[in-house]
Symmetry: C2
Subunit: 599 residues, 2 copies
């Protein structure tokens, strides 16, 4: 039975999905791979793990396969195979998370002994270590009963000179008392869960043989790993335990970058509290009972109440939860905190169902063609490097806007690489119908219905064309619209207009001012120009590869320098481009001249 | 099998007690009495209920039996019979509460139909109505499964123009849609759960034939009813559901007036969050797991954290919980709120185990001799009437101080009516051993070990002697000490010194200033004097009985008037007493002259 055939079944209910996957996972227990997670590198153990996982399921865009191989596979196999609906993946990840525990470990612990200790409580599906302040292990058991069994053996800590808040969760701590570990016991090869520094990335890209390979390598280095994705769902699940104390039917789901396929290692964890099946009921005639429930003026006030309590719990009880802020008067009320054990900056919202649909839409586009994700990763990385986007809110372009720009660009290819949102809506079945607060969020969830035209453009071509497209886009008159897949006249005078895909009267990039837009356009011009100068070269100066192709685009920009908020000294843009070109030419010459000798 | 024989068994564990009582209660289901609670009056239905209850158990000092009958019973039956340990009673009340739901009802509902509707979910042990803002029903099922079954049929309310916080509790609301109730359906005869106004009490007392009967009648009117006591445990149980979401082993127990046998209808509900069996654990050698728990600097900080979360839940989710205050920086951190459905002003504390032992001690003294409770009720009512005690904190004597003064007085009788605390400590068995934060709180819990000497004084004698005792007590030199049962030299210069029974270095009445103590002494003098003037008389003026005996003591005092904080116009005390005496004499004359004719 192939997973692809399971997918439609899974959606029916979470309970059914649970049962189905449980049997699968028990079968998988024998494939247990115990390894040390290498968040940055691609060690053989990680590859081994990935292969095991691929047998079972396809992760949320976390599998690293080259664009070409992916494209080949796509052609060879049926469209229906390998694409699992967003909800099927979510449900399964949630299920895995509920069978998992998070354990803080001493640096030197005998992995085999630890593993054996855990096996006393049942079969293990997945077991990996990572580092965040301290070393942690994520242990996914084959059944929830094993977690229950494990927790029964867990002690309350005794701390001298301190007291503990006796709130029990699945965040545990391993103690190794009185045992003498071999001094040769290797220290865990754990890597932090953040992306590599930009200089390291540039070096790595410079070693690649083609721009397509560079784009592939960038995506590989930046995208969420299988393990990081599991960890995100586990943090949601731990938080769900807190909320479920009062709302047993609730779930807490990650949304945005964590699950839309475009998340970068280290990105924030956006979570959505879904109260699920709690709804009103119309009694028939006669006697009936209702719960005595607190009244509030609005749904917003209810959300504020619930988030206030959860925020208080996280602050007072949540071990490793620091910097808790209740931002309840925001347009979308939220609780923000840093979860130290995972290293995630977390935002918990509720009643945010349109954001969930946007996430699903991006996921769908990312799954339709592998080039979507590669291009989005590259453009996002390029934009962040040049300060086009920022982690702090302001007048700059957001990642979401940028992603919509890439999608729109791909819709405008000939033939289009991805279809319009209106097309996806027209394919929707009755079960896909979804209107949220008056906004039509309907689109097809069944990938097999979607017909995509055959476009054979390479990533290199597409990236170049992207820069060309936006270097010359008539931003002053036209609006970007992925629903129609073509430019529309702007309804307002904001510098950049990108229609919100679901709340169509809203402009996603209303915040962007003309300075920021001009910087974006100038950088597109510069990058498109630099692209044309590029040639494949992997020779090294003194063992260090010389930046070329995509790597060049990530070097400090002359254009960005002029108008960036860092206010470097001013020179005409053309002058800077000229000098950059000169320096590149000189480098090429020197490379040609010196061969592999030291500079 | 008599209840008295069950008592020692019950203490072992709550679970055993549960099982034992469940079988009893199922047997009791056939004795179900459905009635309308009359909180003030003593309707035949209430008496009927009381009889049913007496078959099963003795409540927490809520059964009304005349002092004489009680004394007789005490002599006739073995000491061991009828006295259940404080904890046995608590455990059973908690059990009852967990099987109960609280239902807000329309004013006109057919009781039989409602009862039949509820019976669909299982046998009912107890069912009564009361009024607090609206009409409420307390329904105690024979088993918890019935509550589960009932809750499965309960709907989420749909409210137009409003939203609800979907937190489910056992506070429900009855709807009666589309049904046409007979217009002759009687409106429920519900009474508010507060004490009767003082004037009404004075009238009632004036009708009694003897001072002993007056004291009996006062106690009967003021003490907690069986139903009010159940309601208190039910509110604790509802609050426990909130706390148990995070601390499954916890209990919330009432303490103080609600359960010490001296509570007045309408008194505050003091609650204590007991985290129970949550404690540290010393791991053996080798690998072991601990919960990852939030650290705090002190137990106090832990208490503050927990109360902060519970306070937030009560405020945001608790239907009918209003005026929530988190008073976390008090010496004993607490959450205060008004629970509208019950009408109780609630204080929730934690880590307050000494207060729990004090409660148990007062309960024990109250159970040892029925005269203890009668005298305490009378003295407390007398003190409140004259502004000696107050509901707001200040320099006046507290109810707890006043109660210790009554207990001390009873220890000083010859022969003593109750034993000293040291005697009770010496009788304690190993299981009674209890040291809380260095304070020895040990005393015997088994009533059968306590030998009480035979003192036959009447309530009238005792009340008079109480006033005499404190009118002449050497407060300036001596301390009141129920541990030794005799005066001790004062260790400090505060006007009134009453040793805290368990924290023996503390003075319970440190807050009392000399003005308040002088008012108390002057009132004791006046009352003792008035007592001597009293004669039994039940004649009426125009149908209204003339105040006499105890009723006279509750009339506005001349002494209290002088120094009360209301600052009435000043006159020498002796003058006022003289004029009061004159007026009483005149009244007696007029009564004698006019017989039952109008004044």
């Amino acid at each position: 039975m192939r997973m692809s055939k399971l997918a439609p079944l899974i959606c029916r209910t979470q309970r059914q999905a649970h049962a189905l996957f449980s049997s699968f996972q028990i079968a998988m227990a024998s494939s247990l791979v115990m390894c040390t997670l290498q968040m940055r590198g691609r060690g053989s153990l990680v590859k081994c793990l990935q292969n095991v996982d691929k047998l079972l399921l396809r992760g949320i865009g976390t599998n690293v396969v080259s664009a070409q191989a992916e494209a080949t596979r796509k052609e060879e196999t049926d469209e229906k195979v390998g694409h699992r609906s967003f909800y099927a993946v979510q449900v399964e990840r949630q299920e895995q998370a509920e069978r998992s525990v998070l354990i803080s470990c001493p640096f030197r612990v005998n992995e085999k002994r630890f593993h054996k200790y855990l096996l006393n409580h049942g079969d293990i599906n997945k077991f990996f270590f990572y580092e965040s302040h301290s070393v942690y292990a994520v242990v996914e058991f084959a059944s929830r009963e094993s977690v229950t069994s494990l927790l029964e053996a867990v002690a309350i800590p005794i701390v001298s000179d301190e007291s503990v808040v006796p709130f029990k969760s699945r965040l545990l701590s391993l103690r190794n008392l009185g045992a003498v570990e071999s001094p040769n016991q290797p220290v865990k090869q754990c890597q932090p869960q953040t992306t590599i520094p930009i200089n390291e990335l540039i070096q790595r890209l410079s070693k690649e043989e083609s721009i397509d390979q560079q784009i592939n390598s960038l995506t590989e280095a930046y995208q969420l790993t299988e393990e990081n994705s599991r960890l995100r769902f586990l943090v949601c699940s731990l938080l769900k335990d807190i909320a479920a104390a009062y709302f047993p039917e609730c779930t807490i789901k990650p949304f945005g970058s964590s699950v839309n396929g475009f998340g970068k290692l280290g990105c924030d964890l956006d979570m959505f509290l879904d109260l699920g099946g709690i709804s009103g009921y119309s009694p028939k005639s006669g006697l009936s009972l209702e719960y005595g429930m607190k009244r509030a003026n609005s749904e917003r006030a209810v959300t504020q109440s619930i988030l206030s309590v959860i925020g208080e719990c996280v602050e007072q009880f949540g071990a490793g939860c620091v910097g808790v802020q209740k931002i309840l008067n925001a347009r979308c009320p939220l609780v923000r905190f840093a979860h130290q054990p995972s290293g995630f900056q977390c935002d918990l919202t509720s009643n945010n169902r349109v954001a969930m649909k946007s996430t699903e839409l991006l996921y769908l586009y990312g799954e339709l063609d592998p080039r979507v994700r590669y291009l989005v990763f590259t453009v996002r990385c390029w934009a962040r490097t040049h300060g086009i986007t920022s982690s702090i809110p302001g007048a700059w372009i957001t990642n979401f806007s940028l992603t919509l720009m890439v999608l729109f660009f791909l819709q405008r290819r000939s033939p289009p690489i991805i279809p319009t949102l209106d097309y996806l809506r027209d394919l929707a079945g009755p079960a896909d119908k979804n209107v949220i607060e008056g906004n039509d969020c309907t689109f097809v969830s069944d990938f097999s219905k979607i017909q995509v035209e055959s476009n054979k453009e390479t990533l290199e071509q597409l990236l170049f064309e992207f820069f060309e497209f936006y270097a010359t886009f008539p931003f002053s008159r036209m609006s970007i619209n992925i629903r129609k897949g073509k430019e529309q006249n702007k309804p307002e005078r904001t510098p950049l207009h990108i229609q919100n895909p679901f709340e169509t009267s809203l402009n996603v990039s209303k915040n962007v001012n003309s300075t920021q837009l001009e910087r974006f356009v100038a950088l597109c011009q510069e990058s498109s120009w630099l692209f044309q100068q590029s040639e494949t070269n992997t020779r090294r100066c003194n063992g260090t590869p010389i930046p070329w192709g995509l790597a060049t685009l990530l070097l400090p920009s002359q254009v960005a320098g002029i108008k960036s908020r860092r206010k470097r000294k001013r020179e005409p843009a053309t002058e800077r481009i000229k000098s950059l070109l000169e320096s590149l030419k000189n480098k090429k010459l020197s490379r040609a001249e010196t061969s592999s000798a030291g500079l």
